[in-house]
Assembly symmetry: C2
DNA sequence: ACGGGTTGGATGACATGTCAACGACTGGGT
DNA sequence: ACCCAGTCGTTGACATGTCATCCAACCCGT
């Protein structure tokens, strides 16, 4: 990295804007969600993913993969959610090590109560501010970035340079 | 919120893509930054903001405002960075309560060593993947979202509905 | 069926962030 | 000069996330 190619003004605008949006949008959405529904964003995401599933249940690692969380983090977080009665764990019949996360009725009620308000907030602070072209651009660009990050190494080590593993 | 207007497919693509990008991009940039320079992203941001300033020094609250951090968070974080010798605190001559955060030579060296690699990573994983149109769209859209969030209440309480404070 | 390597998940120690006080200081009104 | 509401920064308690490690159960070649 001898000649560092800095960001020009246009690139800088995009990068700084992205980061500021990221931070402010998150703060606001988290604030409203907590205030209106008593859920944190991580709570919401767990409940949301579970509720989208046919039986309201998922293997812990399957859920972790979908959410891009470490198993450890999910395990800790589920412990807290379990204490609040939002989810339970069941043994996995097909794999003695595994555990299955299940949405409780209270958990279902919580996500159903929270969802409309949360979606409205997402609209109010983001979606409804975008032109159709921007919406598509954001979708296209983000998916490209995601594919680029997921592609080269399938979620493993750094792909920077010569890699002795062929 | 009687008739919850859910996200249609196009909106959903944008929203999910954004969130996935957010997460993956962060993980990767943080990982590389830590590996290459031994800095966390928060470390980098603090050093970066300080180094952009004329005298390499800023009032704590000024820095906190720029970064959109709470004073408390910044105070804690500075304590850790101070222990590593990256910054120091000085008394503020004009305000007896205030404290001034100063970049140390070691801190300057750290940011100068880290910056080229970090910028390169930002390019590699984001900037260089965008078309010029997407770059401008991202800048425009993010700034609009930021203005919208900063506007109605100047970083104060919820702007949701009727507010008794006129 | 056994043994070695791998995976799923839990756990404890620790790093980090949030929130609610608190004490020090300021500045404006009297 | 003095009060006093508001601001600055720090602090401690707590919530959350990360990392290394552990154990049990799995897979697979023998």
């Amino acid at each position: 990295m001898d000649a560092p190619r800095w960001l020009d003004e246009r690139e800088d605008r995009a990068w700084r804007g992205y980061r500021r949006m990221r931070r402010l949008l998150d703060l606001e959405l988290a604030r409203e969600l907590m205030q209106d529904a008593g859920l944190s964003e991580p709570d919401y995401d767990v409940l949301s993913d579970l509720s989208e599933t046919p039986d309201q249940r998922l293997r812990l690692s399957e859920l972790a993969d979908r959410m891009l969380w470490s198993r450890s983090r999910l395990s800790h977080h589920l412990a807290r959610m379990q204490q609040r009665g939002l989810v339970t764990r069941e043994e996995c019949p097909s794999d003695g090590r595994g555990s299955i996360v299940v949405l409780t009725p209270a958990g279902r009620r919580a996500i159903e109560a929270a969802a409309p308000g949360h979606v409205a907030a997402v609209r109010r602070h983001l979606i409804d501010l975008l032109t159709p072209e921007e919406m598509d651009a954001l979708a296209a660009l983000s998916h490209r970035v995601v594919d680029h990050l997921a592609g080269p190494d399938r979620g493993r080590a750094a792909p920077t340079a010569a890699d002795p593993a062929a």
